[in-house]
């Protein structure tokens, strides 16, 4: 596509967004509850939210770069970038937040059968089915491949028994994509990637209270859950390949989102501390240097990643650097905030936003692969260090 075609697309897109994005959907998302997650039981906050989802889904722009046959917009990478940048300029909210879009979708596009793509992808694009991810188990955190949830072969279906943990929004999701052991004799090649409805008899969930307070995380229990054989993605016992592919995606997402505030200067956000606490000011100044460097690092990684120049394991490094930096940021936010930042419940403190965020960031370097596991991967795969 020529430059002028792209400019035309930009102009048309902008005009369309201006005409169709409701004013309420041009205001920043306040919190998780304010975002549109879709699903069978989702209650729209207002008419604008529903209208925005429906009109974007009708154009395929909830998933602009997916093929049209699967509910996408069929846009090229350049067009998708233009759409996103025009949405950002107008302040348009994402019409839909979705693990289906971010995680299951890419896995299905790569590993799913044609029938599965046609069956599962369009409802994801339209926000009709909300998905959750069943990976971690109480005994299988960093050593995920040791997972024990077992699917017993019953001919036309598996009977699944076991427990998952850290299942985000399991209590709100309609379906789950889940790693299940289907062969106890083979550690890596004994896991299958199954999909099933959360209303299937035998599935139950229980929310987890974190050190930061309430959370989207749940424990999820499976008690003789029947899963039909056609609800498997990829080959039997080869679910680890799918899982690894998805974890790469997740790490990319976490590393990129590690510093949502962009170049925002820490010292500029806390003028009192910056003016009156020289040692803290110095730490914040050094942190600003790290922030600027990390932004450049993310930009360079994306430039290299998109053109196939980056090492395939590089997202592990970005995940490590980005999450450690975010934790450091919130340590400094707490130091700069002083006793104001200790308030946990008052409306003045927005319900303890600072301390709760600070505590929540401690999970950044645990979820999606701990920092220690990331360093192992970088040392072995990128630096080619010896040993097992």
């Amino acid at each position: 596509m020529s430059m002028s075609d792209l400019e035309l697309f930009r102009a048309e897109t902008r005009a369309w967004l201006e005409a169709n994005c409701p004013a309420e959907m041009r205001e920043p998302v306040r919190d998780d509850d304010d975002a549109c997650w879709g699903g069978r039981n989702f209650k729209f906050k207002n008419q604008a939210q529903k209208q925005w989802l429906d009109i974007m889904a009708a154009k395929g722009w909830t998933v602009p770069d997916w093929p049209k046959a699967y509910g996408g917009g069929g846009l090229s990478a350049e067009e998708t970038k233009i759409l996103r940048s025009e949405m950002a300029k107008l302040g348009c909210r994402p019409p839909l937040m979705s693990f289906g879009i971010w995680m299951l979708g890419p896995a299905l596009l790569k590993f799913g059968t044609e029938e599965q793509k046609l069956h599962y992808l369009p409802p994801i694009a339209r926000g009709e089915i909300r998905w959750c991810q069943g990976y971690s188990e109480p005994g299988s955190g960093s050593d995920l491949v040791s997972l024990q949830t077992f699917g017993e072969d019953k001919g036309d279906h598996w009977t699944v028994n076991g427990q998952k943990i850290w299942t985000s929004y399991a209590n709100k999701a309609d379906w789950i994509f889940c790693l299940v052991r289907t062969d106890k004799t083979n550690k890596y090649q004994g896991i299958s990637f199954l999909l099933f409805d959360m209303t299937t008899p035998g599935v139950s969930t229980k929310p987890i209270l974190l050190i930061s307070g309430s959370s989207p995380f749940c424990e999820t229990f499976f008690d003789n859950v029947k899963v039909p054989k056609h609800q498997i993605v990829g080959e039997l016992n080869r679910g680890w390949d799918v899982a690894k592919y998805l974890l790469g995606h997740e790490r990319e997402m976490i590393s990129g989102g590690g510093l949502g505030e962009g170049l925002a200067s820490l010292g500029a956000a806390f003028p009192d501390a910056a003016a009156n606490e020289p040692v803290l000011r110095a730490e914040m100044a050094m942190f600003d240097v790290e922030t600027i460097a990390f932004r450049a690092h993310s930009e360079r990684f994306m430039d290299e990643w998109k053109t196939g120049r980056a090492h395939p394991a590089y997202s592990n490094l970005m995940k490590y650097v980005g999450t450690e930096l975010n934790k450091k940021r919130h340590e400094l936010v707490m130091a700069a905030g002083g006793s104001d930042a200790l308030e946990w419940e008052s409306s003045r403190s927005k319900g303890g936003a600072k301390p709760r965020t600070w505590l929540r960031t401690k999970a950044n370097s645990i979820e999606g692969g701990t920092s220690e596991v990331m360093l192992n991967v970088v040392a072995k795969r990128i630096l080619d260090m010896p040993g097992a």
């Binding site: 110095a282 460097a293 290299e304 490094l317 040392a379 630096l383 260090m385």
Partner: protein
């Protein structure tokens, strides 16, 4: 522009890297050091730089150069860093060239051809104390006759004893701390009243303390405008800072590669030490720090080449970040090499020494983090 080397830039790197590895590897530094070479660098090598076009990378085409940018200059500097090559490239072909771009036609005609041909070495007489503090230049240049008379002392003037010209920042008006009133002078080193006290530094480079004792210069020695030297001085300093950052990328990468190789060869307790997780994690962390430094350097180079006003902030961040990362690389390098890392025979210690000097050159990470804070409004 994407943050990786273009095809042309990658080709330049493919020329520069083997050239320096063959003609000026670490043993070149050792031989200059061990023979107590009074020049401290190879003028023959400097001529070869000119023949290959390196000296004219940043010189505009209209002035006889290649008219390329900071990415290209950085490619040369990174290899200089990797090989610890003693070279006037950073002072002369990068910092001085950027300053002289503000000069009038006569000044440009006087110096650019000689720099491009490898016949002139320029040294920078900026610092007046042990720390880099260009904001508080106090050296005075009084009006005298058709020009100025300079008196005062400068230090950390690298290659000052063998330079053909000194770029000197002095005060012609205003008072210490003010930007207005600074004037930048291009002064031939043989001018009467200049005396040079040279010493070898920790990294074996030769650096001078330069005294100006009523040095009389004509008005045509002024780079740019009288009292408005802050602008060309800023160009000089920013180019120097960005260039020193690129050189430190090479120093850090050289130390890191050498150390990672060692982890894969050295056996203790019946194992390669690179099998130990404690060392693997430190190695991976170091790699991440160096990658962050590499990213901010190329970003700052692009912004500089685009004339983007954010360049100043990114250059300050780049000098601070590469300073910290390169320093980590040499410290981890010596520690992970163990006893042999402390011996003069082994190269890793030379990397530690060069890092120390480059960290100090044009301002250390503390200085630049402070500038980042000020530019961010606190």
């Amino acid at each position: 522009m994407a943050l990786y080397l273009s095809e042309d830039q990658a080709m330049l790197k493919d020329t520069v890297a083997p050239f320096l590895a063959e003609n000026a590897p670490v043993k070149h530094l050792r031989s200059l050091r061990d023979s107590k070479d009074p020049v401290g660098l190879s003028k023959d090598l400097w001529k070869r730089f000119a023949e290959l076009g390196f000296t004219g990378i940043l010189v505009p085409e209209a002035d006889g150069g290649l008219g390329l940018g900071h990415v290209e200059a950085g490619i040369v500097l990174e290899e200089i860093g990797r090989n610890l090559t003693p070279s006037p490239f950073l002072s002369t072909a990068v910092a001085a060239v950027e300053a002289l771009k503000a000069g009038d036609a006569d000044l440009r005609a006087q110096w650019f051809p000689r720099i491009v041909s490898g016949d002139a070495i320029v040294a920078l007489a900026i610092d007046e104390g042990a720390k880099h503090r260009p904001g508080s230049i106090a050296m005075v240049a009084e009006r005298s006759g058709n020009g100025f008379k300079l008196s005062g002392k400068k230090q950390f003037v690298l290659h000052g004893h063998v330079a053909d010209m000194l770029l000197v920042a002095a005060r012609t008006g205003g008072s210490s701390g003010e930007e207005a009133g600074i004037t930048l002078f291009a002064i031939p080193k043989e001018t009467a009243g200049i005396s040079v006290d040279v010493d070898r530094l920790v990294d074996s480079s030769l650096s001078a303390r330069v005294s100006f004792d009523g040095v009389q210069v004509d008005a045509d020695a002024v780079v740019g405008e009288v009292d408005a030297g802050w602008a060309p001085l800023t160009k000089l300093l920013d180019a120097g800072r960005l260039g020193a950052s690129a050189e430190m990328l090479g120093v850090g990468a050289g130390a890191m590669d050498m150390t990672f190789d060692y982890l894969k060869q050295r056996k203790q307790f019946g194992k390669l030490i690179g099998e130990f997780q404690s060392l693997q994690h430190r190695a991976a962390h170091l790699y991440g720090e160096m990658e962050g430094a590499r990213s901010i350097v190329i970003k700052a180079q692009h912004l500089s080449d685009d004339g983007d006003p954010r360049a100043e902030l990114f250059i300050a961040a780049a000098k601070a970040k590469t300073g910290k990362s390169c320093n980590l690389a040499v410290r981890e390098g010596v520690q992970m090499h163990g006893g042999i890392g402390m011996t003069d025979e082994y190269d890793i210690g030379l990397y530690m020494k060069r890092d120390r000097a480059l960290n100090e050159f044009f301002g250390d990470p503390h200085f630049h983090a402070d500038r980042v804070a000020r530019m961010n409004g606190y």
